[in-house]
């Protein structure tokens, strides 16, 4: 058992849920609304010092009754300790969590990937867009269990949507601004930047 669990329970109380030991790893379930408190404490407390966020991912189980889990793998580079923190979300409810980008900048793309594949939204994320699929991808979240393996649309419709996608529209407005400042932006993309346009997003309405 990782000693961080007892220390955390003493300080944070009910934010720490049940604890599971698996293959020598400690898995801590944390209340969703206290997630950022717990992770801040784990990062900043001198005896804990989990300063490195290894990965963020999510799991949805085949059993529809089981909640969807968002998994944070933390590592303390100085102490060589690892801790896995999990948050449970009801897949039928709103899949929303606090972003941990304010704690670890590296969480930016990790959270975008979880958003892209599972549809979990992260509050206060600076740039929550799809990262693997293109931005106007309209078929849903591919790693959810209710997502068909071959996608929701017919192959012809998938080809049509893919061919009409603009391959240059993957840049964020921030990235476009940087290129514009360096005077290296083609005219059509400068126009996108001027209008602040990101294409028609299927989930924006």
């Amino acid at each position: 058992m990782n000693p961080s669990v007892e220390a955390g329970r003493a300080t944070l109380g009910s934010a720490i849920g049940r604890v599971v030991e698996s293959c020598g790893d400690t898995i801590v379930y944390v209340a969703a609304e206290r997630l950022r408190d717990v992770l801040t404490w784990l990062r900043d407390t001198p005896g804990e010092a989990y300063d490195y966020l290894v990965d963020i991912t999510a799991v949805e189980y085949r059993d529809r009754e089981r909640p969807l889990e968002v998994v944070y793998t933390l590592r303390s580079l100085g102490r060589g300790a690892e801790l896995r923190v999990k948050v449970e979300l009801d897949p039928r409810g709103a899949l929303t969590l606090d972003s941990v980008v304010p704690l670890w900048q590296g969480a930016n793309w990790l959270e975008r990937e979880v958003y892209d594949m599972f549809g979990v939204s992260f509050r206060e994320h600076p740039d929550l867009r799809r990262i693997l699929m293109w931005e106007t991808y309209a078929e849903g979240y591919p790693l959810r269990k209710d997502f068909p393996l071959r996608g929701r649309f017919s192959r012809a419709e998938q080809v049509r949507q893919a061919l009409t996608a603009n391959p240059e529209a993957h840049y964020s407005i921030d990235e476009l601004s940087i290129a514009a400042a360096a005077a290296a932006l083609p005219a059509d993309m400068a126009e996108r930047l001027r209008r602040g346009e990101r294409g028609t997003l299927p989930h924006s309405e």
């Binding site: 293109w134 997502f147 068909p148 393996l149 192959r155 012809a156 998938q158 080809v159 061919l163």
Partner: protein, 211 residues
């Protein structure tokens, strides 16, 4: 006689027809058709589009042991503007479909496409939401090379088949060199055809569309 000549001259197509006949005669007598095809076939400049493990075999084909420079592919063009043959080596995700289409459109005529490996030709084992089921739904393909991945000998055999095809082309058939733009739906093939050639086969027929 005089009447015939006058009516012939006044026809707007008269000069064109005579010129075409002259060109045909010159080509047939001089063997220029053969000469042009021979030089085209033996100086192909490949545009490698390597996305997966097939690209490793492609590199082996290009390197000293197999060396496709022996077949005239001395120079690899990493710009589509200077390439003759697009070699798609590896699987093509839908996100890359507009990219390969744009590369193909940027290549000048005459141009050919080799689809290297099972994934580029059919989607291969990746019968899923992210993968194009055969690049012939995106660009016209001249030679399909089977294999997963094909050995360099396989790719070289495909290149030689392409040589054969090029040597059989006729300079007098302008349709060979016509661009094939996407239609008003934004597709290259009719949707029914795309659905049909994307149908699951082999082991993937045991997977269902719905969860």
């Amino acid at each position: 006689m005089g009447k015939h000549a006058v009516s012939g001259v006044t026809s707007p197509n008269w000069l064109t027809t005579r010129f075409e006949e002259l060109v045909k005669w010159v080509l047939s007598v001089s063997g220029a058709n053969k000469a042009v095809n021979w030089s085209r076939a033996n100086s192909l400049w490949p545009m490698p589009f390597g996305t997966a493990c097939c690209a490793i075999e492609f590199m082996a084909t290009a390197a000293s042991r197999f060396d496709f420079a022996r077949f005239g592919m001395e120079r690899q063009a990493f710009s589509p503007r200077q390439a003759d043959v697009l070699i798609c080596a590896g699987r093509l995700p839908f996100k890359l479909a507009p990219v390969i289409r744009r590369i193909y459109d940027q290549m000048p005529q005459p141009k050919w496409v080799i689809s290297m490996g099972a994934c580029a030709s059919t989607g291969g084992i990746f019968d899923n939401y992210a993968m194009v089921q055969g690049i012939d739904t995106i660009v016209p393909v001249d030679v399909y090379v089977p294999g997963c991945p094909p050995r360099p000998e396989g790719l070289l055999y495909g290149v030689l088949l392409l040589h054969k095809k090029i040597k059989g082309e006729s300079l007098l058939d302008p349709s060979v060199r016509e661009e094939q733009p996407l239609d008003e739906r934004g597709l290259r093939l009719p949707p029914e055809t795309i659905d049909e050639i994307s149908e699951p086969f082999g082991n993937s027929v045991h997977q269902f569309r719905s969860a």
